[in-house]
Symmetry: C2
Subunit: 177 residues, 2 copies
């Protein structure tokens, strides 16, 4: 029988987008936002200057140098034993990020083949059994079962199954086997 | 009611990949392959030196400078009236192509938003009502109804609904309304 499929988001799930964005945005804007100070805010509320945000995200090397989330590598490798894994990132808004994301995956997740990488816009047409993502804009409209990965902007959302870290994600998914 | 969705391939469907590849491959290899001489051959049979092929496809500007297929722009615009259009290109094998494909679409198809662009590997998890593509490796495994766009490598394949050009594609799809 074919393995069940999982689509896994990159920013905020595999990659620690939040830390890197805080650092780069604070440097560019002269603010001193912290992980604590943005808890429960939307991205727009936390990073108010949208033009600056876009500029930061379009900088060479921003996505290429993102830190890996704790336990992400071992967890995805573990899940790959029993599931087919697709990496699905909403990336076409930021063209500079595209090749950087593929290179980042090749470095940190070399066991993910190019065939299983999807750089897209809307995730509405991605058909997998599960989607692990931090954004309601993706989770609310996905075809498979949504699994919400905790991030500052979703801590007050309660309408999806939540996992707080990669160990919880593996436990939840392995329970479905 | 939501519009039905169409996934449209880029190389060989929106973009005249064949002409550009013949020109670049012949220049690099000293061969004189023509559109006529490769009819009915697979890509591997037509372009025998796989390493050279990969080198050609990884060159800066190869994908950015592809000619647009005849009637493609007007046809996609016409289809957009009654369908939601997604551009779905198997591109993650060639990272250089990723940003070039987005820029190419922005130039020639500015009416396609970034949300509707998918750069992927396998198209098995793309769920649209139709897929217009030239490759059986995509058409054979797609979730929606496959529509085969004629290309040198598929002229002897008879197991999918075939369209020979963009005018035929529009006619076939508008008939489904």
């Amino acid at each position: 029988m074919n393995k069940k499929t999982i689509a896994i988001d990159m920013d905020g799930v595999l990659a620690d987008f939040e830390s890197q964005l805080l650092e780069h945005y604070n440097t560019a804007y002269g603010t001193s936002l912290t992980k604590e100070s943005i808890q429960g805010l939307s991205e727009d509320e936390a990073f108010k200057d949208r033009d600056l945000l876009v500029k930061v995200l379009n900088k060479d090397n921003f996505f290429r140098s993102l830190p890996v989330m704790p336990d992400a590598i071992e967890s995805v490798r573990e899940l790959q034993k029993n599931f087919e894994i697709f990496i699905v990132s909403a990336a076409t808004e930021f063209p500079v990020s595209l090749a950087e994301k593929v290179a980042w995956l090749a470095e940190h997740f070399p066991f993910i083949k190019w065939e299983n990488i999807v750089l897209c816009g809307s995730k509405r047409i991605i058909k997998t059994d599960y989607l692990i993502d931090d954004h309601c804009k993706n989770l609310d409209y996905c075809i498979g079962k949504p699994i919400m990965f905790t991030a500052f902007h979703n801590i007050n959302k309660t309408h999806h199954l939540r996992v707080n870290n990669w160990k919880e994600a593996v436990a939840v998914l392995n329970e479905t086997l």
